[in-house]
Amino acid sequence: MAEYLLEMDNICKSYYGTKVLTDVKLALKPGEIHAIIGENGAGKSTLMNILFGMPVIHSTGGCEGEIFIDGQPVEIKSPLQAMDLGIGMVHQEFMLLPNYTVTENIKLNRETRKENLVSRLFGKNLETLDYKSMNADARKALDSLDIGIEEYTRVAGLPVGYMQFTEIAREIDKSNTRMMVFDEPTAVLTESEASNLLDAMRKIAERGIAILFITHRLDEVMEVADYITVLRDGRLVGTMRKEDATIYGLAELMVGRKVEKLFNRKSRVNFEDVAVRIKNLTVNMPGERVRGLTLDVYRGEIFGIGGLAGQGKIGVANGVMGLYPSQGSVVINNDDLTLNDPRESMKRGMAFLSEDRRGVGLLLDSSVELNIVITTMQNKGLFMKKLGPLTQIDGSKVREHSQKLIKDLDIRCTGPTQPVKRLSGGNQQKVCIARALTLKPDILFVSEPTRGIDIGAKQRVLETLLRLNEEMGMTIIITSSELAELRSICDRIAIVSGGKVAGILQPDASDVDFGLLMAGQIDRKGA
């Protein structure tokens, strides 16, 4: 019997040429709680996907490195195989069927059955489900977590925490589970639910089941973990025993000082003149809910909004631009903005580069030039000519304008008529920028401008934004998961946590400050 239940050695993984994991190591003993922490995009989820044999890994060319279970090298090709090996996963998105009872969910596809007359004739698939024994099993699993949910209640309508426990109970009920992965389990829970969960994790560990605990809440880590591994940019930056770690140390490790100020720019911000004043904004964007956020952005500023995924940073721009139902007050250039109306937002001189480039940002099958002009055409009636009673698209003007922007922004394409779906991610992003510019906005909202773009193109996109700010005096509000990127070009950075601003920092503030704000530490202590 090997000492370690699981060892992962020198794991490397790249998506489309971008390296997301480099030489990551991990070792796990039975009954141990091992926390993995890191920013978004640090590679935590990819690592778990590899461990769980998710199809997304194999469809993108597999990974390098070795995995040992009980000292035996294994190759995990599918989630099913992972389950056979005794790896259980508590997903971030619940794998629960809402119309089933707790029991039915716990026993999903592992139902206990008994023979009957029909099944003897027509095969095992027609065996009757043995609800009695299933309920008993479910009860046992739930009891081992000390949870009082009744096993015969339907999952739909249960509080989120109970759903989580149902998922955990399912893994426990599997007789062969030896190791469980908790992927940010507390992200959706209330405080009391979270503490119940941590208790449950301890109980599970006491039974000899090893736990991989992925999170970004440092206090939780300190509370339950035996070992802590920190990832940053796909690299392992530290592994330590809990006794050797401090919250501050972890925060610093997690964020790291990676990028110096990229560009030298002279700040021309006028701190008297508020361009955007957001008060008590609530945005109902699923997964990125904003809950009463207040914020001032000054004219000529490049303002960054950072924070962890799911905390609501993405919701801010989407709410102001009217794409998701929102409430509250937004004042643009000292005038109230009517919310929930994208047209109005654009009329007031704002433009938006969506984080969902392919879903919201582009008409994929259409040409580059159409993508560039269509928003302006619809909102300002430009690029049209009159033809009797009918308006007509002014082909030559469109061509002229798009060719100019293609040159200015260095969009690599075969010509203005090429469909944008054939362009690379970076060039698609530039098409989006070109469209935003065509609107001639005063205020530009940019969400995740560099997501899914290779390094070189990243640089060019950021440069372009900077140039717009300097040359045209545009106020730019960037939302990004990459803190380094924000720190490299922003004047000020707000960190959003729990749908509210946790704090506003200068780009050169210390890593610890950023780390703590992002981990929700300050917010929790009531700061």
Partner: protein
């Protein structure tokens, strides 16, 4: 807040909510009951005829409608391709009639032959549906037309020529192609129905006694809560009331007492109900329910989603083909190139009216739907005639209702989903 989701703020509010949700959940059925009652009132129809007709229509159509349930459970919507099963049944009946096997033996032979054929067809349909996930209904509809072309081709062009068939009654005098009408008289007609018939009151007495006996048995055996006991006493009393009413009926001189029930057919329908009930409790049934709720989660849990879906369509096709045999043996004479045409539409219209949706269908809804839909079909022509003073307008009105109801139901379903998701958003805002 979250820890106690069942907290009620205000009892009046709760009642109102309950009523609203009952209305939204059952709006199609309610609309239909109202419509039927009005139509019945207007038509001034003779109740004896109505009951005779509804009884025979229920026994003719229920089986096919029940065949729709399984694909709904598997999340594939309403299976418009049951028409393929109907065509398989017709093909087999043509041959059995040709061979001249009459009565119940003939029916059994049909069932034996049609089963493998419809398994094959269901298998093909299922695979087709797996390639168009999310578009099963429209695909099924078009696939029906497509299959109709092939059916016509076989029986109009091949039979008698490429596929030899020497039968003056069935084949056209030119020697190629099946005639337009096939008369099962002296053959399969009433093959199942006439196996065993009982007058309606006797049937009711038996059913009532069985129900009462069953309830009494449960009542004696278990120690339930008071409320449940009360319910059961009501149930027993109700069953006995049925018996009493039936006896009264038997001794009245109403013509209804003479209506005879094809017991064998009804037993087949009841057996199917029990099978479906049993089926949902089996492993395969559970897999279907899982797949129906969420394909992705089912797949991650290791269920072979595509296979389960194919099985669902196979079962539906087989049941539909049996159902169509029951239908045709009762009709007696049927049109070779037309009888299958409306099977899909009418079965689907019926189950929708019973309150089923594209995502949820139960046995009760199917049976209630058959009852309501055919009620309207019986009374609508007469109602239209009385209302507009013109027989043909009654006919047009009936067709309008048939198609309109499916359209309205689909719209209401979509609307309801929207309403519910809106409520969801509101709930989030409240929080």
């Amino acid at each position: 807040m979250k820890d106690n989701p069942k907290l009620n703020r205000d009892p009046g509010h709760a009642v109102k909510k309950k009523v609203t949700s009952f209305l939204t959940n059952n709006m199609v059925t309610i609309m239909f009951v109202v419509l039927s009652l009005l139509a019945f009132q207007v038509s001034g129809m003779n109740s004896n005829l109505y009951i005779t007709d509804i009884v025979s229509r229920i026994s003719r159509n229920s089986f096919t409608v029940l065949a729709l349930i399984i694909p709904v459970i598997a999340g594939m919507g309403l299976n418009f391709s049951i028409i393929v099963g109907a065509m398989a049944a017709q093909a087999v009946i043509i041959y059995v009639t040709h061979w001249g096997v009459p009565g119940f033996a003939g029916i059994m032979l049909c069932v034996a032959l049609v089963t493998p054929l419809s398994i094959l067809l269901g298998y093909l349909t299922g695979h087709l549906f797996n390639r168009v996930k999310g578009q099963e209904m429209i695909t099924g509809l078009i696939f029906g037309y497509f299959a109709m072309g092939i059916y016509t081709f076989i029986f109009l062009q091949l039979v008698g020529g490429v596929l030899p068939m020497d039968n003056e009654v069935l084949v056209l005098s030119s020697g190629v192609g099946i005639r337009t009408t096939i008369d099962l008289y002296g053959g399969l007609r009433y093959g199942l129905d006439d196996l065993f018939r009982l007058p309606l009151p006797v049937m009711l007495i038996i059913a009532g006694l069985i129900a009462a006996g069953y309830q009494l048995f449960i009542f004696m055996r278990s120690d339930r809560l008071k409320a449940q006991r009360f319910n059961m006493i009501i149930g027993i009393a109700g069953s006995l009331l049925v018996v009493v009413l039936a006896i009264v009926l038997m001794n009245s001189n109403s013509l209804i007492r003479l209506i005879s029930i094809p017991v064998a057919t009804w037993l087949a329908i009841i057996a199917l109900c029990f099978f479906l009930f049993f089926f949902t409790k089996t492993k395969l049934g559970q897999d279907m329910r899982s797949v129906g709720q969420d394909r992705h989660i089912a797949a991650v849990s290791g269920i072979n989603v595509d296979r389960v879906r194919v099985i669902a369509i196979i079962m539906s096709t087989v049941l539909a083909s049996w159902g169509h045999i029951i239908f045709l043996q009762n009709m007696g004479a049927w049109s070779t190139y037309g009888s299958h045409m409306q099977i899909g539409f009418y079965a689907i219209a019926a189950i929708l009216i019973g309150g089923a949706t594209v995502t949820r269908a139960t046995i009760g809804q199917a049976l209630l739907g058959v009852f309501l839909f055919h009620t309207l079909f019986i009374v609508a022509p007469a109602a239209g005639r009385e209302l507009f003073g013109d027989a043909q307008i009654g006919e047009y009105f009936r067709v309008f209702v048939a198609f309109g109801v499916i359209g309205v139901t689909l719209a209401m379903h979509a609307w309801k989903t929207k309403l519910q998701s809106n409520q969801g958003i509101r709930a989030i805002k409240d929080e």
